[in-house]
């Protein structure tokens, strides 16, 4: 780096050992690149290994078969249906509450000790290990609220788990909307909610969507909390269908049903000594990892799109 300035008392002093120091500079750039490449390589190796190991099992049957004692006939039907239903419950609970809390903190909350308590709580919850949420759910949802080991209990647990992610992302999105927009709306006589609903929220949609997807991508892979509430790993039936042929056509009976989920199924297969099950684990892992990467990719893309589109 040529700064055009040298130590004025003795120009030679500043140049002392310059070639060696510059070499060290270049070496560090190399080290930095190598370290980053190693990390990215691990990610690549992980994904490729899962796909290669799981490839023989990745067929149509794998998605339409229930778990089985015979590895070559085992599939993930109950697992992916369970995961889908849990994610619906999680999204329906976490998104309105998370976005609501974020709007409150950014647009409504007065600056006082009470707001500070809510904020500290959100930061703290983000640092609580996921398995502790499992213990909370076991004590509260499963036994106190008597939800049992059901899809509803699992969905609520994961909703609490991703709540801080949704709140933090939404707050960031809301905060980036310039004050002038709000003041213009207030100036025309809009109430606080009208300002929020008609101006702040539309501008922060991108950020909120990103936070929602990142939260769900975290929830989809979470294993520990749903093991703790007692998810079963061997289920050979599906929960009650949400769509019924008779009036009222929609049923919520599935909320009460026992379940298994993708990460639970994978964990179950990983922990079996029989190597044939490892292929199943790899196949399930490839699907799980693929889902997570896809969701993260979509989130990055949305963030990028919205950042490009909005020019204040």
């Amino acid at each position: 780096m040529n700064n055009g300035v040298t130590a004025y008392s003795d120009p030679a002093a500043a140049r002392r050992g310059l070639p060696r120091r510059k070499l060290l500079d270049q070496l560090f750039v190399l080290v930095g690149l190598i370290v980053m490449l190693v990390c990215l390589l691990v990610l690549a190796v992980l994904f490729i290994d899962l796909v290669i190991e799981g490839a023989p099992r990745l067929g149509w049957d794998f998605f339409t078969n229930f778990a089985s004692r015979r590895p070559e006939r085992a599939g993930i039907l109950a697992a992916w249906v369970g995961t889908t239903l849990i994610m619906i419950v999680t999204a329906v609970c976490a998104v309105p509450v998370g976005v609501g809390a974020a709007i409150y903190l950014e647009e409504y909350a007065p600056k006082n000790w009470f707001t500070a308590i809510i904020e500290i709580n959100v930061t703290n919850l983000a640092g609580v290990p996921s398995i502790v949420y499992g213990l909370l759910a076991l004590g509260l949802f499963v036994y106190q609220f008597d939800l049992g080991q059901s899809i509803a209990a699992a969905g609520l647990t994961l909703a609490l788990l991703i709540l801080p992610i949704v709140i933090v992302a939404t707050r960031e999105a809301i905060r980036s909307v310039p004050r002038s927009i709000r003041e213009a709306a207030y100036g025309l006589g809009a109430t606080r909610w009208e300002v929020t609903k008609d101006h702040v929220l539309p501008y922060s949609t991108g950020g909120i969507l990103t936070g929602m997807i990142l939260g769900l991508s975290r929830a989809i892979g979470e294993t520990a909390p749903i093991i703790t509430i007692g998810a079963l790993s061997f289920i050979a039936f599906l929960p009650e269908s949400p769509f019924q042929s008779e009036f009222p056509f929609i049923s919520f009976g599935w909320l009460d049903d026992p379940f298994t989920a993708m990460p639970i199924q994978m964990f179950n297969w990983v922990s079996r000594p029989d190597p044939a099950f490892q292929a199943n684990a790899a196949a399930a892992g490839a699907i799980l990892l693929g889902m997570t990467l896809l969701m993260n990719g979509v989130a990055i893309w949305i963030r990028y799109r919205f950042r490009k589109k909005i020019n204040w």
Binding site: V5, A7, L18, L24, D25, F28, V29, G32, V35, M36, C39, L40, V42, V45, L46, D49, L50, P96, V97, G100, A101, I103, Y104, I117, N121, V122, T123, L125, G127, V128, P129, I131, V132, L135, L138, G139, L140, I167, G189, A190, T191, R192, W193, E194, G221, E222, T223, A224, I227, T228, P263, M266, F267, V270, Q278, A282, L288, L289, T292, N296
Partner: protein, 307 residues
């Protein structure tokens, strides 16, 4: 005055309605905010209530100083130390990976990398932290352990070393992103002062930026520790689930989290002492992470206010 929009001349009744609606919505939003507070209270309450039943059977002294953890055996012993030792050992191994790698990446991204590279690499790195932990567990068990066994033939199939290494990799993006934030918060004029004295970029990074961002780096490491302490699936899959009072990473051992998983996998009746013991273990875990989080967050606040 005819150009005033119609909003301003609506009837008093409509205005009252809009104000009322605002107040209702505000209280709904407040309730959403309070969910976070209730969650924290509920976590603490559930853990305290369930473990108070546990501590009716087990003295606090045995719990904190006993070196045997066998709650599921006929001869049940309830010393948490083996689980704490397992947790600390995997955490230390993880830090030995995450701190050097994470800091190097952070220095590179904050001080050396061109804008384009930084913006491309950061989201990809974050993917490392987004991989489901059960997948990392599979990775540790089926790839890292065999690779380590090739280097150290006497290494058992379950060991804390492989689990710790993988957890370390997992928290690299976490450490690097907090560290990078801290280093970017160091003001430009400090770097320029250093360049003006003839320092190279590396010298500036190591002697001006890193010391300037010290509290932020410390926060990054401590938040990383808190992550590693709470990590569950990798250790449950790759480190074995047998409590083992040792600090040798080459041995199999259970962590606090692995014990909770192990009990949950079985079918312990609600209200039994085995069932209550996971809440006592959870309380210790929560306490450990809480301490690290509080230190970490107070350090991040400091680096954000320092300049």
């Amino acid at each position: 005055m005819s150009s005033i929009p119609s909003v301003a001349v609506t009837s008093a009744g409509a205005l009252r309605y809009r104000k009322m609606r605002d107040r209702v919505i505000e209280s709904l939003l407040l309730v959403s905010g309070l969910v976070a507070v209730f969650t924290t209270l509920a976590i603490v309450a559930v853990l305290l209530i369930e473990s108070s039943a546990f501590f009716e059977h087990v003295s606090l002294r045995e719990f904190l100083t006993g070196t045997m953890w066998t709650p599921l055996f006929a001869d049940a012993r309830y010393g948490i130390l083996p689980l704490v030792a397992g947790t600390l050992t995997t955490t230390i191994v993880a830090l030995l990976v995450a701190v050097p790698l994470g800091t190097t990446i952070a220095i590179y991204l904050s001080e050396f990398a061109p804008h384009r590279i930084r913006e491309t690499v950061k989201p990809i790195l974050e993917l490392l932290g987004a991989v489901p932990t059960v997948v990392y567990g599979y990775f540790a068990l089926t790839m890292v352990t065999p690779a380590l066994q090739w280097l150290m033939p006497e290494l058992p199939g379950f060991n804390m070393l492989s689990a710790g290494l993988v957890i370390g990799l997992m928290i690299v993006p976490y450490v690097s992103s907090v560290s990078e934030d801290a280093m970017r918060a160091v003001p430009r004029y400090m770097r320029e002062g250093s360049y003006a004295m003839g320092a190279t970029r590396l010298q500036t990074a190591l002697r001006v930026v890193v010391p300037g961002a010290f509290s932020g780096l410390a926060a990054a490491f401590i938040l990383g520790i808190s992550r590693a302490v709470g990590e569950t699936m990798v250790v449950a899959i790759a480190a074995g689930m047998q409590p083992n009072f040792t600090f040798d990473p080459r041995e199999p051992a259970a962590t606090i989290t692995a014990y909770i998983v192990q009990v949950s996998l079985g079918d312990l009746p609600h209200g039994s002492i085995g069932y209550q013991s996971i809440f006592a273990a959870g309380l210790v875990l929560l306490f450990m992470t809480l301490v690290f989080n509080v230190i970490g967050f107070s350090l991040t606040r400091r680096f954000r206010e320092a300049y």
